[in-house]
């Protein structure tokens, strides 16, 4: 039974290349389909270029959404990365 999970986080720093890379590498290890949405634009979390293309900046709200068997774990992992990795500039 595929699970769905969604969580919102407010960025404490800009989503530069390195945090975007960390996010995409982590996302790629999950089977679930995972998206990140910022300001009405959505990208595949497994696509580093897509995530960087969002141009997400400090203070913006990011919604991580996943669908699939490991969706819950995926969302928890990616939200943790977003809160950690955006603390420093990439």
């Amino acid at each position: 039974m595929p699970a769905n999970c969604e969580q919102e986080i407010t960025l404490t720093g800009d989503l530069h290349a390195r945090p975007a890379g960390a996010l995409a590498v982590a996302a790629g290890r999950f089977a679930a389909a995972i998206s990140v949405t910022v300001g009405g634009r959505t990208a595949d979390a497994k696509s580093v270029l897509g995530v960087m293309g969002l141009g997400a900046t400090s203070g913006q709200h990011v919604t991580v959404c996943a669908a699939g068997a490991d969706a819950q774990h995926a969302v928890a992992a990616l939200v943790a990365i977003l809160s950690e990795a955006t603390k420093v500039g990439g």
Partner: protein, 132 residues
């Protein structure tokens, strides 16, 4: 992870461009993937070197194959010439991809454990990614 990741070879006419792109891709992907730069001629001029490409292929292969990104057309000729005589050419995929974006996208998928086909596909799909 214990399984080896796909290696990446960056073939550029410029040694600095190849090295810089390798450095950037390593930084973005967390440094777990073997990325080998093969830039410039044997004399250090602008151009490509069959010897450098062949050595890079060997150095990059960790057992899961190698994805090669050339920067401009004649780098493709050099890679193809090397692959004609290369022993394990079946484990090498030459991609048609934007150099910087393709290198970053491919390396991230390799770091996430993607196989040879998935890594090559990420490189080629990079041409559709919009920056603005």
């Amino acid at each position: 992870m214990s399984t080896p990741s796909v290696g990446i070879v960056l073939v550029s006419h410029s040694a600095e461009l190849a090295e810089g792109t390798a450095n950037l891709a390593a930084q973005v992907s967390g440094g777990t993937v073997t990325i080998v730069a093969a830039g410039g001629t044997d004399d250090g001029d602008l151009g490509t070197s069959a010897a450098k490409v062949e050595q890079a292929l060997r150095d990059a292969d960790q057992g899961a194959g190698v994805v090669v990104l050339p920067d401009l057309g004649s780098a493709v000729l050099t890679v193809r010439a090397v692959l004609e005589d290369y022993g394990s050419a079946g484990s090498v995929l030459l991609t048609d991809a934007p150099f910087v974006e393709g290198a970053v996208a491919a390396t991230v998928i390799a770091a996430a454990g993607g196989d040879l086909k998935a890594v090559a596909a990420a490189a080629e799909e990079a041409r559709h990614a919009r920056k603005l």
